[in-house]
């Protein structure tokens, strides 16, 4: 038993703390989503390379949902997919700015892949953008499948693409296949499948969005006095009204007014009979693009009448078959539908539509959309309420409420709660007189507090009758027993039901609270409300095909300061990044150019400057920019050009820390030379320039090349200015070099430039060099040269006698070496004439041989000398030649390099031209 228990314990999954946090976060977010009564329309971003069929896909989807055709697609399109659910489609241009902005807001990204070409650069760029701005739901869509005629080939490629897509997204995300086009739309069955998956998708909460509300503007109007009005749904989370708003890609603006207006694609709540949508309920809201024949501009609505389709019935002559099936059908019916009738009537008009509009008052062109002013319904009601309340308050105030200076106002029945709200927020006169929070109660008599006995635990003491304790206990026990019995009866199923009910009740309560707050005119707008924002002095121009994202500027996040991030060069970016080179960073809502410096952290927490980012590793970067919460992902690019010559994303990172100052240090080695050595003390010159500098480094550690350590003691009067006395652990050589290792704080540039539509970017050094044709600096001093070293002759090692006697046997000399005197005696003894035993003849022979030998030796000596001289001459010749050759080679090489660079520069210039 015990073993099995142990196993069970072992098998229990271990939840790591960060996993738990993540889990908690998601659980919380899901709960919060459920609490929110209304959801904003699902934001579907359709992304793909040029010619992959983005527009066609949106058109087909809109046609599937509403049966309407979009002629020209501009801006977001919102459709009602079912009663509770709305979907907004946005097309993503291949501009890197638009891509990064839309990756921040997407709930679902439809990534289009052209099967005939395969994965393109944009797809990978967009995926890594999504990855770093919080990964929303992703669906792949494979188009242009009809390119493959061979069935086997098709299956193979499908499989290949699916595998690659799964690998890149790192999850089980669907990859759809869209077959051939039919009448400029995709096949009905394919689109039906795709739409089904879009409608059942569960939104993965992205942390950035759940904390940062934003509005993706559907349309905008530019008024006369430089005011611009934007309309859109509040997305992300509840919007708390603020005086400023950030137009992504344009800058910060002050809000002139912020109102809730009528929702063009409302959620249908009350009808329960039919689950599916009626034809009249199928709505498409695409104010910037042309739906059917209707275009809405900033000032007016236009109806375009293409000649062949909407001709007068009488003049009806020639029709192309494909396009006008529907009209034929309609005409078969006896009564014309309203729309057709209206158009027909309009055609027969003699007056302009403007004049007609002036005559008639309320002309509604589309349901829920008014050409005249939108009516802020909610605000009207609230204003009425407030006025009523004010009157009440005034009456009450007159009767009995006075605010005494420095005293406290009790909340009693005589004072309404609304009065307090009024008092706090409407009345603006200062009522406080002394800066102390402490409140000193005016104490009444002791007897007057008798009544509050019930506020204590022992509250019934003295007031109620004496309770029979035994009876009470019995009663309690009985009750408990009954409860237990009931619970047993109910069983587990009942329990679960009860729990569910409780949960629901709790949810409802929480929802009520949220509703109460959002409806009480405190400047809170729930997500999913359709709002109108008026901005004054909006100077910058707006591109229609560019997403207009208006984000609330959050507390603390519009401040500038230094940010420390963990950064990694993107594996597909060709260059490594250089410190102090300007770079474009997309962080939070903002995109800006800044000058980062890169650094790594030493084991003692020092941030050490590095000139370049490592090639395959993380490092830190510090730059001046907008604050964003820790853990926010960011993406760096080096330019904004749309040339796809190389992978545009340079690096990715995560925010770690924010501060107003960072100490990034760079290593600095000071070098000095000894000019006088006395035992362990040395006088060193050339390290500092003045004695004041020395005084600053007093006690500092220094080191010779061989590793002898020492200290800087004091500035000395000997030698040049800036020389000092130092002590080492041993005597140093005069030929030694002395180093002092120090650190210098790096200056981080306070450069920040928000990327707007007409921004002028700072150029990198390389770009400038290329532009001005400045070649790289060439220092002859920094090239490597051959070192000629003179071999050092060391004096023979001599160990004093005393020391030798005390040495251990191992290190002792085994053969006794002779002293000078002994050696001399030996030599003398050797040279002493020896008594010979030779005869005279022998002597003669011996002397002859000796003489012959000397002659031979002399000859050899002479020959050797000659040889040596010859060799010397030869060596000198060879050496001279070699040097000459090398010099020639080097000069040739330098010339060649310069020529090459100038050629390159010229070539690039030509290309640019």
């Amino acid at each position: 038993m015990s073993d099995s228990e142990e196993e069970q314990v072992k098998q229990a999954p271990i939840i790591k703390p960060h996993q738990k946090q993540q889990k908690d976060f998601y659980a919380e977010q899901l709960q919060a989503n459920e609490e929110a009564e209304s959801q904003a329309p699902l934001l579907v971003v359709v992304q793909g390379p040029k010619g992959s069929g983005k527009t066609t896909l949106i058109k087909s989807l809109v046609k599937h949902y509403t049966g309407q055709k979009i002629k020209k697609l501009v801006g977001p399109v919102t459709v009602r997919s079912n009663k509770q659910h709305r979907v907004t489609f946005v097309e993503c241009p291949s501009d890197i700015n638009a891509m990064s902005d839309l990756s921040k807001v997407a709930d679902l990204a439809l990534i289009l892949i052209d099967a005939s070409i395969g994965f393109e650069m944009e797809t990978f760029e967009y995926l890594s953008l999504l990855n770093n701005h919080g990964f929303p739901n992703v669906m792949g869509v494979l188009t242009h499948i009809d390119f493959f005629k061979d069935n086997k080939q098709l299956r193979k490629t499908r499989k290949k693409y699916k595998k690659r897509f799964e690998y890149e997204t790192g999850g089980n995300y669907k990859l759809f296949y869209l077959q051939a086009l039919k009448n400029e739309y995709y096949l009905k069955q394919d689109i039906h499948n795709l739409a089904r998956f879009i409608s059942i998708i569960k939104i993965a909460p992205v942390r950035w969005k759940t904390e940062h509300p934003f509005i993706l503007a559907d349309r905008y109007e530019q008024g006369k006095d430089n005011t611009t009005t934007f309309y859109g749904y509040v997305r992300g989370c509840t919007y708390r009204l603020n005086d400023r708003i950030h137009f992504v890609g344009q800058g910060d603006y002050y809000i002139d007014s912020f109102e809730e207006v009528l929702d063009p694609v409302e959620i249908i709540t009350n009808q329960k009979k039919h689950r599916s949508l009626k034809d009249t309920e199928k709505l498409v809201y695409a104010p910037m693009s042309s739906v059917g024949a209707l275009t809405i501009d900033a000032t007016a609505g236009y109806i375009t009448i293409p000649q062949p389709i909407f001709t007068d019935k009488n003049k009806f002559v020639n029709i192309e078959e494909q396009e006008d099936e529907e009209i034929e059908e309609q005409e078969q019916e006896q009564e014309l539908p309203e729309g057709v009738r209206m158009v027909r009537e309009l055609q027969q008009l003699t007056e302009g539509i403007d004049k007609q509009l002036e005559e008639e008052e309320d002309v509604q062109l589309l349901e829920g959309f008014d050409l005249e002013e939108e009516k802020p319904i909610k605000k009207k009601i609230n204003q009425q309420q407030i006025q009523q309340q004010r009157e009440l308050v005034r009456l009450k105030n007159r009767v009995n409420v006075k605010i005494e200076n420095g005293t406290v106002m009790p909340i009693t029945d005589t004072l309404l709660a609304t009065d307090l709200h009024e008092l706090i927020y409407q009345n603006k006169t200062g009522i406080n007189e002394f800066d102390s929070v402490r409140y000193i109660a005016k104490v009444q008599e002791r007897e007057s507090y008798r009544e509050i006995k019930e506020l204590f635990v022992t509250g019934f003491y003295g007031q109620t009758d004496v309770v029979d304790l035994e009876n009470l206990e019995k009663q309690i026990e009985e009750e408990q027993l009954e409860e237990e019995q009931e619970q047993e009866k109910k069983g587990e199923n009942q329990k679960e039901k009860d729990d569910n009910q409780n949960q629901k009740e709790n949810q409802q309560q929480r929802q009520q609270l949220v509703n109460q707050l959002t409806n009480s005119n405190l400047g809170l707008y729930k997500k999913g409300t359709y709002v109108k924002i008026v901005i004054k002095d909006f100077s910058s121009s707006i591109k229609d095909d560019y997403p207009m994202i208006l984000a609330r500027s959050e507390v603390g996040e519009d401040n500038l300061g230094f940010i420390k991030i963990r950064i990694k060069k993107h594996r597909w970016h060709s260059n490594i990044l250089k410190s102090n080179d300007p770079i474009i960073i997309s962080l939070g809502w903002r995109r800006f150019q800044t000058i980062p410096i890169y650094c790594v952290q030493d084991p003692n927490d020092r941030l050490r400057f590095v000139k370049y980012t490592p090639e395959y590793d993380y490092c830190y970067a510090i730059f001046y920019g907008n604050f964003a919460p820790q853990g926010t992902g960011l993406v760096c690019t080096q330019s904004l050009s749309n040339k796809l010559s190389k992978f545009r994303i340079a690096a990715t990172g995560v925010v770690l820390e924010m501060n107003h100052q960072f100490d990034v240090m760079k290593k600095l080695k000071l070098v000095g030379e000894p000019f006088k050595v006395i035992k362990n003390t040395a006088f060193i010159k050339g390290m500092f320039n003045s004695s004041l500098e020395v005084a600053k480094f007093q006690g500092g550690l220094i080191k010779t090349v061989s590793g002898l350590r020492g200290h800087i003691k004091k500035p000395s009067k000997l030698g040049p200015d800036g020389s000092f006395r130092a002590t080492f652990e041993d005597k140093i050589q005069m030929s030694d070099l002395v180093f002092c290792r120090t650190w210098v704080r790096m200056h981080i540039e306070r450069f920040y430039r928000l990327i707007t539509s007409n921004v002028k970017l700072m150029k990198t050094m390389w770009e400038l060099r290329q532009e001005k044709q400045i070649p790289l600096e060439f220092k002859p001093d920094s090239t490597y040269q051959d070192q000629e070293r003179v071999p050092v002759k060391f004096a023979p090692l001599r160990i004093p006698n005393n020391l030798q006697q005390n040495l251990p046997f191992e290190s002792k000399e085994k053969v006794k070496s002779l002293s000078f005197r002994e050696r001399l005696r030996q030599q003398v003894e050797k040279n002493l004439p020896v008594k010979s035993n030779m005869t005279d003849k022998e002597k003669e022979v011996y002397s002859l041989i000796q003489r012959l030998n000397t002659i031979k030796n002399e000859k050899e000596k002479k020959r050797e000398q000659k040889d040596i001289q010859k060799q010397k001459v030869k060596k000198a010749q060879i050496k001279g030649q070699k040097q000459h050759l090398e010099e020639g080679k080097r000069k040739y090489k330098q010339q060649k390099q310069k020529d090459k660079f100038i050629k390159q520069v010229k070539k690039q210039q030509q290309q640019q031209q």
Partner: protein
């Protein structure tokens, strides 16, 4: 830049401004006193990148980031103009949003008649903040008492947190305990016991669980203590909420029996008239609600002090949080302030 005119409680403005990192401009009709400078210097001590411009007409305050000097132990003299708790009230909230733990030794007055005592802060104010930040690690100790002359010393260690939780405080529950500290220096030890016994005398009609400690300052070499005594009482409810009050020796209250009785009656008055937190600390509860995560927070309050009303206005103009008031229940959705200066690995 948000500007304020004729505002007396500049502390809350500076606090909100530092939390939200928004620069503010405060104009005065007259110079508030040396405590303004002490406050600003303290703020500068714990921040980097903070810029302050003071002249006779007002202040321009540009907040920086709270680094707490990388957790190094600091010593700061609060002076004798206001007591230590005047600065502690602000410092405790700011320390929640720091980069490193705050370790600071404050010198000054521990008990005086204008501000709440340090004991009330330990026993009631810190538990109140802990309701909003359950994981907060903090220790506040009085190492030396100081009356009037400012010989007191307080040591504070506080660790930063990530975010303040949304909290609902609606039911206080009955009061189950009464605790307190009766402190004094350079007085007869018997005197404190007399204060305590008089307190007990009053509470005997209400609750038996009363425990008031006495803390008499021992004489130290080289320190000249002033004579004085004070009592701080705290009532704890069954839901873990605390209600505090203070009473000190003064010219009017010159009798230990009188001090004891007044203290006890003041606590009864607080219990009677306040909601889930006492009148003194209510504005900080509201402020914490305003900076909490984006969820509904609620608190039930009793009487509202004038100081609180002005604080609520400041909260609205700097943090943009408006409270909904319904039958003495204040509710709001927090502005979701995240500790931006915190360190992450």
């Amino acid at each position: 830049m948000i500007s304020f005119q004729q505002v007396i409680n500049f502390r809350e403005i500076l606090l909100c401004s530092t939390l939200s990192e928004r620069p503010v401009k405060i104009e005065f009709s007259q110079y508030p006193g040396p405590h303004l400078q002490t406050m600003l210097k303290l703020l500068q001590l714990i921040q980097t990148g903070c810029k302050i411009d003071v002249n006779t007409k007002g202040i321009i305050y540009i907040p920086g980031i709270i680094t707490n000097q990388d957790g190094m132990l600091q010593t700061y003299n609060c002076g004798v103009d206001r007591s230590i708790s005047y600065y502690l009230e602000i410092l405790l909230i700011l320390s929640l949003f720091g980069k490193a733990p705050l370790n600071i030794e404050l010198n000054g007055i521990t008990n005086d008649q204008t501000d709440q005592s340090v004991d009330s802060i330990i026993n009631a104010y810190i538990p109140l903040i802990k309701k909003f930040a359950p994981e907060w690690e903090v220790s506040l100790k009085v190492t030396r008492r100081g009356f009037q002359a400012g010989t007191g010393t307080v040591i504070l260690h506080s660790k930063p947190i990530r975010q303040i939780q949304a909290t609902t405080l609606i039911e206080r529950g009955p009061i189950c305990k009464i605790r307190g500290v009766c402190s004094g220096s350079k007085v007869a030890p018997n005197l404190l016991n007399r204060v305590v016994s008089q307190c007990r005398n009053v509470f005997n009609d209400y609750i038996p669980d009363v425990w008031v400690h006495t803390d008499l300052q021992k004489s130290q070499k080289g320190v000249e203590f002033q004579s004085g005594y004070a009592v701080s009482l705290v009532g704890e409810s069954t839901n873990g909420l605390f209600i505090s009050c203070d009473c000190e020796y003064s010219n009017e209250l010159n009798d230990p029996e009188k001090v004891g009785e007044t203290a006890a009656l003041r606590l009864l008055d607080e219990i009677k008239n306040s909601g889930c937190c006492d009148t003194t600390q209510q504005q900080y509860a509201l402020l914490l609600m305003a900076v909490s995560q984006r969820k509904v927070s609620q608190i039930k309050l009793g009487r509202i002090s004038t100081h609180t009303i002005e604080t609520l206005r400041i909260i609205r103009s700097i943090l943009g949080v408006t409270f909904n008031v319904e039958e003495s229940v204040f509710s709001c959705i927090g502005c979701g302030l995240i500790n931006l200066s915190r360190l992450t690995q």
